[in-house]
């Protein structure tokens, strides 16, 4: 039984578009808008991607040597984080998930703080440099709802900036995401939501997560402007977020961006992707990765060379090593610190527990 002969009326129509400038080889497929023809910006994006990748490798090494906890690598996804970070202004607010070290660095979070955070120390989230940004968020997709709340606050206060929030492909299955997208449309919130579609949610492939042809189309449910972008093309990501932010600043409402990447690493250092991921996916993923193609592009524009590359690597290593040392030198918080930020003022009933803890740990130290 089909709808044959029913003669329905067409009520609505939707398109999903895909944006890309650089192909896998770093060749320009579409000409850049003038504002992107900015050598300084173009080089800065590269430098930041390299810093991200080197820091990422260091984090894994620290974890493997017992100096840090479980860590979620950003390998292969640097263009998303860097594109977002550069597109945002200081006034905008960032509501990250846990794989967003790249953007956090650009926002001003110190490397040491990122290490502290994954090293099991809350002080990693204290960053004064980002007074309004949220810390990295572990419960999947909840940050998008907070972002919608922040965007509401901006609107309530007649302010002009916007909020950017990120999530993974798997996270798009959670109700929090759908509810927030719906609100963003209904309230025309200054909100940009970027999906880092790295094709995996731990072991669950993107196709098992949803039948949707694109993740971008999930914006249609809330009448939210939505598009796909090559997430391994830092210029395309930067441009998509810039356009979305401009849209938001003008009061025209939210955007959902699906950035297509590939997770070139285990889910986290606690994961072993060889259990579930066929290696040809990884091979294809490496062909698309963001840094190599972008370096080719810069080379072709004569903005980059081997010399600069070596210097950059050295500089990054040094920056990272200094921060690692700072991290390793950081004394742990005193035990009773677990009481000290529970409430603005510790309720009377908890003072006794706090004192017990102090006494107990003092006892333990001869």
């Amino acid at each position: 039984m089909s709808n044959e002969g029913r003669n329905p009326e067409l009520r609505a129509q939707f398109d999903i578009n895909y944006y890309q400038f650089l192909d896998n080889q770093g060749t320009l497929k579409n000409s850049l808008p003038t504002y992107l023809e900015d050598d300084k910006l173009q080089v800065a994006l590269y430098r930041q991607m390299v810093l991200t990748r080197l820091l990422d490798a260091k984090c894994i090494a620290l974890q493997r040597t017992g100096k840090m906890g479980t860590y979620p690598s950003t390998l292969g996804q640097e263009a998303v984080g860097v594109g977002i970070g550069y597109a945002m202004t200081k006034q905008d607010v960032f509501a990250p998930y846990y794989r967003d070290m790249a953007t956090q660095l650009i926002r001003g979070v110190k490397i040491k703080d990122i290490l502290l955070c994954w090293g099991g120390d809350e002080r990693g989230n204290q960053s004064e440099q980002t007074p309004f940004d949220l810390p990295c968020c572990v419960p999947i997709a909840t940050q998008v709802t907070h972002a919608a709340g922040i965007a509401s606050a901006i609107k309530i206060r007649h302010e002009k900036h916007a909020v950017v929030s990120t999530l993974g492909d798997g996270a798009t299955s959670r109700g929090d995401f759908a509810e927030s997208i719906n609100l963003a449309g209904a309230w025309q919130l200054p909100l940009v939501v970027v999906i880092n579609n790295n094709q995996w949610a731990i072991s669950v492939p993107r196709e098992v997560q949803t039948a949707a042809q694109t993740l971008a189309q999930k914006g249609i449910a809330g009448e939210v402007r939505c598009e796909q972008v090559d997430g391994c093309d830092v210029l395309a990501v930067y441009d998509a977020v810039k356009r979305a932010l401009a849209h938001a600043y003008e009061g025209k409402g939210p955007t959902l961006i699906e950035a297509i990447t590939y997770r070139l690493c285990d889910h986290t250092t606690a994961d072993d992707a060889t259990r579930y991921s066929p290696s040809d996916g990884l091979k294809k993923g490496w062909e698309k990765e963001p840094i190599k193609r972008y370096r080719s592009f810069l080379h072709s524009k004569k903005l980059w060379d081997e010399h600069k590359e070596t210097a950059l690597f050295e500089q990054c290593e040094q920056q990272i090593n200094t921060a690692v040392q700072e991290y390793l030198d950081t004394e742990p918080q005193p035990p009773e610190a677990m009481f000290d930020y529970l409430y603005e003022e510790l309720p009377r009933s908890l003072k006794e527990q706090r004192q017990q803890l102090i006494d107990k740990t003092r006892e333990a130290q001869p």
Binding site: F14, V93, A95, E122, R123, N125, Q126, S127, E128, P131, F132, L134, P135, P139, T142, T145, H146, A147, A148, G149, I150, A151, S152, A153, I154, K155, I156, R157, H158, G175, D176, E179, S180, N182, L183, G185, A186, W187, Q188, I220, E223, R225, K252, G253, M338, Y341, L342, Y343, E344, P347, R348, S349, L350
Partner: protein
């Protein structure tokens, strides 16, 4: 695609954020508890432009119990927001708003629909300050009418305050009279940390009290001793204070001197007030409507016997709802603790030797 979309909810500029009126000086009035809730919110919205309200049907409709009646008209669409029908969303955006220094008051229409908020409340509202070592905080209030006894349909009668009380980083506050509703809600709104404010809807309109609308808050984190006595301590909160006071009256008539404590802030618990009372009376009955097993009564009982075992002249009794599901309303009366139950438990406690 149509991006013009609905902009009714927060776009309008009339009655907007900036145009908050000057506080209207109202003198004392005889009002119900739900009116007191309304009055407290209106007062604080006039005083602090960061206070905003959101929830289902809180706007034009003024809330299904009318707790927000008139507030949209006075403060406008930007400060009194009808949300889409999604409790997870309500809790999550409230956290987001609070993280930026607003002081949002979210209404969950009935406590039976509060469960979808729990991830945001437990994982985020309660932890934002701690997680950021004080950089961000979460000065929000989550209001919900709670409790049974109003002949409502299924899911409209829950009392699950214990679930929130078990969560560090939250305050759980329950008023039991118009005066305490006014004073405690003001305190909750002003509190720099998240407060779950549970309103016993059975007594929303059961009586009136004279309230001076002067913005004076009552203290959080303390119990209120409603009546002093020497022989026995009755400890309760919320709607059950009604039956507890009735029981106290009957016990007094039969010659006993009864102390009645309204816990008010369920968590963190003011155990000192409770302990000094029980140390004085040596006998104690705890009364709550929620199920017994792992209810807040268990914590109070455990603390008393841990800290005042030798003062106890009789085992502590708990008069509570049964460990069942609140029956559909035809039989709900059998679930609710009654004055008689309290009197009986108190008499047994008084006569225990």
């Amino acid at each position: 695609m149509n991006h013009a979309a609905n902009t009714e909810t927060v776009n309008a500029t009339e009655n907007s954020f900036e145009s908050a009126k000057d506080p209207v000086k109202e003198s004392s009035q005889e009002i119900t508890m739900v009116e007191a809730v309304n009055l407290a919110m209106a007062y604080e919205m006039r005083m602090d432009e960061n206070v905003v309200i959101l929830g289902e049907d809180v706007g034009t409709n003024g809330g299904v119990f009318r707790a927000t009646d008139g507030l949209k008209a006075e403060f406008g669409l930007r400060r009194v927001m009808d949300t889409p029908l999604a409790e997870t969303l309500i809790a999550g955006i409230t956290v987001g708003m609070a993280s930026q220094g607003l002081r949002p008051i979210a209404e969950i229409q009935f406590m039976g629909f509060i469960f979808a908020t729990m991830e945001h409340i437990i994982c985020h509202a309660a932890r934002l300050r701690n997680r950021t070592r004080g950089r961000l905080s979460c000065p929000m209030v989550l209001r919900a009418p709670f409790g049974g006894g109003i002949h409502a349909p299924e899911h409209h009668s829950e009392s699950t305050e214990a679930i929130f009380a078990h969560t560090a980083g939250l305050r759980v506050v329950v008023p039991s009279s118009p005066v305490r509703a006014y004073g405690l809600l003001l305190a909750a709104i002003r509190d720099p940390d998240p407060v779950i404010f549970l309103e016993p809807k059975r007594i929303y309109r059961i009586s009136k009290q004279t309230i001076e609308d002067n913005g004076e808050a009552l203290p959080l984190d303390v119990c209120f001793t409603l009546r002093e006595g020497q022989d026995i301590t009755l400890i309760s909160w919320g709607a059950m204070i009604l039956e507890t006071l009735q029981a106290a009256n009957q016990l007094t008539e039969s010659g006993h001197s009864v102390e009645v404590i309204d816990v008010a802030t369920i968590s963190p618990l003011d155990i000192d007030t409770i302990l000094s009372s029980v140390k004085k009376t040596g006998r104690c009955v705890i009364i709550h409507e929620a199920a017994k097993n792992c209810g807040v009564g268990a914590e109070i009982s455990a603390q008393i016997s841990e800290r005042a075992l030798l003062s106890l002249q009789a085992p502590i009794k708990r008069v509570t709802g049964y460990d069942t599901i609140m029956p559909y309303f035809r039989n709900e009366k059998y679930y609710m603790p009654s004055t008689k139950d309290i009197v009986k438990a108190a008499m047994e406690t008084l006569h225990y030797e």
